[in-house]
């Protein structure tokens, strides 16, 4: 019984980032505010990049793909646009993980620029070529800028969470 409870506890803690990602994609949670119009950031990119880079066993590629599909339906984007964008962010994270031996906040942070650029390029390319929607370039620029600026904050939060998982699992 105790073992079952321990496994359950472990699974719940390990599912935390995935639950957060699904919730952000599927709910009304938004990171764009009318009162300070230029401020918005892409929390999905941060979550995906961090967890694929630091602990890929927490966040499966299949779930990332599904979250992208949910996001497309909610935002009325052509189906699989966000999914492709998220998968390319995952690809950059997986590449950095394979190519670097020791990673730190700064290496993660600066390689994240490449992930943001590629992720947003996929959005740009697919929306501007395959849909009738207009793109407001300055909004996307500010979104990318704040996503980049806020990465260290979430990096700190997720590092703490990772330690919490480790302590709980090994308790």
């Amino acid at each position: 019984m105790a073992l079952i409870f321990k496994n359950f506890k472990e699974n719940i803690f390990r599912l935390g980032p995935l639950i957060l990602l699904v919730y952000i994609c599927i709910s009304e949670f938004h990171t764009q505010f009318y009162y300070w119009e230029i401020f918005s950031f892409n929390l999905q990119f941060i979550i995906i990049y961090y967890w694929i880079l630091r602990d890929p066993s927490i966040l499966g590629y299949g779930f990332i793909f599904l979250c992208g599909l949910f996001n497309d339906v909610i935002l009325s984007l052509p189906l699989a646009t966000s999914a492709m964008s998220y998968l390319f962010v995952s690809l950059v994270a997986a590449y950095v993980r394979n190519a670097t031996v020791r990673s730190s906040l700064f290496t993660d942070w600066f390689t994240f620029v490449v992930a943001i650029l590629i992720g947003n390029f996929i959005y740009f390319f697919l929306i501007s070529n395959f849909s009738n929607g207009n793109i407001k370039y300055d909004d996307i620029f500010y979104n990318s800028l704040f996503t980049f600026i806020l990465y260290p904050v979430f990096w700190g939060v997720f590092e703490l969470y990772k330690k919490l998982i480790f302590v709980r699992v090994n308790a």
Binding site: Y23, I26, S27, E28, F29, H30, Q32, Y34, E37, S40, P56, S57, G60, Y61, G62, I64, F65, G68, L69, F70, V73, I74, L75, S76, L77, P78, L79, A80, T81, A83, M84, L87, F88, S90, L91, A94, Y95, R97, N98, A99, Y123, L126, I127, F130, N132, G133, N134, I135, K136, D139, I140, N143
Partner: protein, 285 residues
């Protein structure tokens, strides 16, 4: 040089194809599946549209349920903010009440006069449209789209392009219809373009969303003269989709552009009415 290229190739290949201990799919396979789904969705085939409509309905319902904690927290915050300011508001309201009492007599006279004039002109007091009332179930902002989702769809007779009213004023138009849900493109969205007429001058213009709260008036005639307080904006019906004469907003003249202050605040849309058709009497007029 060739060693570094080899390293890059190995790292990329590994990132694309390696599944790892807990990964059930490789990135390469999922990217291919995404491209396949994207192509199918863009092909605009009837069965795919039908399937997408079903998926949309399901996901919107799940999304509405999962958003309830956010809605609850916003309502709670609003409640406490209101409580904090209730004392000041009470004082202000007391003084306003005194003022209103004084003007009440005058208003009563004007109302009676207005009623009699309306009777003379035989104006309809009811809405001139056949309306379907709906509730906003999802309002998710994004840099790409300002739209909301309502809980009525094709099963209630809603079709693409129909105008949506909020408290009698134009709020947007229908851009996606599912069986039990629809998406409204709000007037301030970057993709929104509505043909309008500015009263009393009768200038024709296009109301274009710019992603901010106030859309702009474009394609006004040369040497136009507009005034902030006098000029109101109505739909012109020139596109043949929206009905003419729906109130939209008030003109705001700024240095280099003419903006529209919308009567229907895009941040405050909770219940809407979709205008299915003009009432018979209105069509005959």
């Amino acid at each position: 040089m060739s060693t570094s290229r080899d390293d890059f190739g190995i790292a990329i290949r590994s990132a694309l194809l390696q599944r790892g201990a807990k990964q059930k799919f490789s990135l390469f396979v999922l990217i291919l599946v995404s491209i396949f789904i994207f192509t199918l969705d863009n092909a605009n085939l009837k069965p795919i549209n039908f399937l997408r409509s079903l998926i949309n309905d399901g996901i919107y319902r799940i999304s509405a349920i999962s958003s309830s904690p956010i809605k609850f927290s916003e309502t709670t915050k609003d409640f406490f903010v209101k409580q904090v300011f209730v004392y000041k508001e009470n004082e202000r309201l007391k003084s306003e009440l005194e003022q209103l009492k004084k003007s009440n007599l005058n208003s009563l006279y004007l109302k009676t006069e207005n009623d009699s004039l309306q009777n003379i002109l035989q104006l309809k007091k009811d809405s001139p449209y056949t309306l379907v009332n709906a509730k906003v179930i999802l309002d998710k902002g994004s840099p790409y789209l300002n739209s909301v989702i309502i809980n009525k769809g094709s099963n209630s007779g809603i079709k693409l392009g129909m105008p949506v009213l909020n408290q009698g004023f134009l709020a947007g138009r229908i851009v996606e219809v599912n069986f039990t849900s629809s998406r409204i493109l709000l007037l301030n969205d970057l993709n929104s373009r509505i043909p309008v007429v500015v009263s009393p001058n009768g200038f024709q213009a296009i109301l274009s969303g710019v992603g901010k709260k106030e859309p702009t008036l474009q394609y006004l005639p040369e040497n136009f003269e507009l005034n902030d307080k006098e000029n109101l904006i109505f739909t012109s019906g020139k596109d043949g989709i929206l009905f003419p004469g729906i109130a939209v907003g008030q003109v705001i003249v700024e240095e280099n552009e003419v903006l529209a202050k919308l009567f229907s605040d895009p941040d405050q849309i909770f219940f809407v009415s979709v205008a299915l058709d003009q009432a018979k009497e209105e069509r005959e007029r």
